[in-house]
């Protein structure tokens, strides 16, 4: 059991900044995120895109914003459970919450702050009849263990980075790799596109464009797919079909936690502290909704700050409210690090 002061669900910009504000109040945080790296959408969807509305940053790449936030919160030593989805929550007798992930990791804290953005990122599934029937029986949306495909016939569909990258990796392992895309242009790192071109030229892989998979067939396990190649139907024997069409956010298991939901977002009290209808559970950033809500990173930062004040009161009901200016007190990290303004020197001029 991981014990902390605040469990933060979602390691996007809002969740990360909450660690800083909590740290100023000497509260420790642990973040849970279904993605394998911190940063949320900024890291997963558009790390190389500039953002222009972060105060004092005329322009910053989304990926750099995440890196800078990670640097800013480092002194407060946040814990991370990455690549796992917060699945269940229950309240203990002492008023604390236990959050369990889909992989069974348990976390306990007095306060839970949901900073889940638009939700958990799930693979975007193609629109195919019987698709669900073949899930885990030849259809995979995520490649967890490349060894699984050793000496198998694999068909990958998609036109982005992950389709290209996995084609390159599996070309070494699999019996055969076929890459299928609706057009012959691919959006990916130049290096990946060139590598796939070389593999194709060397006949190590097959690239079929413009084409798409329109039907799946098999007995107990997938054995064949039907491709539509420029209007012609083509049958191809495969062991695995891996559609890589990117990720799409879904509110996910949080939707079943008894929280008041409106328009796919969690209702909070914005006049006070962004607490949900369950005392002790807060929702901050894009995941919440209140009158006048704007889904902006800068609003998430503000919400995180107020949430931490309220969390402090909940954790230490007898302590006075605390408020700190970093300009005055500097920052004392949990790692013993110390940052503060240079003291002014006062000397007499004779």
């Amino acid at each position: 059991m991981i014990k902390t002061d605040i469990i933060i669900i979602g390691a996007g910009p809002t969740g990360l900044f909450a660690v800083f504000e909590a740290g100023l109040l000497k509260l420790k945080c642990h973040l849970i995120d279904s993605l394998p790296q911190p940063g949320g959408q900024c890291a997963e969807i558009y790390p190389k895109k500039p953002i222009y509305d972060i105060p004092s940053r005329p322009e910053i790449l989304a990926g750099d914003l995440v890196d800078q936030l990670m640097t800013q919160i480092k002194p407060f030593k946040p814990g991370f459970t990455l690549g796992e989805t917060a699945q269940e929550i229950h309240k203990e007798r002492d008023g604390s919450f236990v959050v369990t992930t889909d992989k069974g990791t348990q976390h306990q804290a007095q306060v839970v702050a949901i900073a889940g953005g638009l939700g958990t990122f799930e693979p975007r599934k193609p629109d195919l009849a019987n698709l669900i029937l073949w899930e885990d029986k030849g259809v995979d949306y995520i490649i967890r263990e490349p060894e699984k495909y050793r000496n198998k016939n694999v068909l990958i569909a998609g036109g982005g980075d992950s389709a290209l990258d996995w084609t390159i990796v599996l070309a070494e392992l699999a019996q055969s790799v076929t890459l299928v895309h609706r057009r012959n242009q691919f959006r990916g790192a130049l290096d990946s596109v060139q590598k796939v071109q070389v593999l194709k030229d060397q006949n190590k892989i097959q690239v079929i464009t413009p084409a798409e998979v329109i039907a799946l067939d098999g007995v107990r396990h997938l054995t064949n797919v039907t491709l539509k190649v420029e209007g012609t139907l083509v049958n191809q024997a495969v062991d695995y079909f891996i559609p890589l069409f990117g990720l799409t956010p879904k509110l996910g298991p949080i939707a079943n936690w008894g929280l008041e939901i409106e328009k796919n977002a969690i209702k909070v009290d914005n006049s006070l502290d962004y607490q949900t209808n369950i005392p002790g559970i807060y929702a901050i950033g894009d995941v919440n909704i209140y009158p006048g809500k704007l889904k902006l990173i800068l609003c998430g930062f503000h919400e995180a700050t107020l949430m931490c004040q309220s969390a402090f009161q909940r954790i230490f009901p007898k302590k006075r409210k605390v408020f700190k200016y970093t300009t005055v007190g500097g920052i004392t990290g949990f790692d013993g690090s110390r940052k503060e303004a240079q003291k002014s020197t006062i000397k007499t001029i004779e």
Binding site: Q41, I45, Y46, K49, L118, R124, P126, D127, G158, G159, G160, H181, R182, R183, Q185, R187, F245, G246, T248, P249, K263
Partner: protein, 103 residues
């Protein structure tokens, strides 16, 4: 400075919207400000297709950028008249624009 456009939501209901043309808004942003169910996950950079729509009227739209083409080649439910709302800037030429939100 605004134009009237019609957005048909996923249940088939038509919404007449007034879209400002003088503050560089795009169709995705207009839909969001009217609280229509358009996510705009990626913030309007043609990276998610959550604002995909079908253009029903014959308006002179700007050509698709390579990014929009690439996204539409990966998105689902794509038709000939599919566009990403975030890539359609509101302009007085679009008076009377009629679009339908993709599933």
């Amino acid at each position: 400075m605004y134009i009237k456009i019609t957005v048909i939501d996923r249940s088939g209901k038509a919404h007449e919207l007034e879209a400002p043309t003088d503050i560089t808004m795009n169709l995705m942003e207009v839909c969001k400000s009217y609280e229509l169910p358009v996510e705009g996950t990626c913030g309007g950079i043609a990276m998610c297709a959550s604002c995909q729509c079908y253009v029903l009227s014959n308006h002179p739209l700007e050509k698709k950028s390579p990014d929009e083409e690439a996204m539409l080649s990966e998105a689902l439910h794509v038709k000939e008249n599919s566009r990403l709302g975030c890539q359609i800037p509101m302009d007085k030429k679009l008076e009377g624009l009629r679009v339908e939100l993709a599933p």
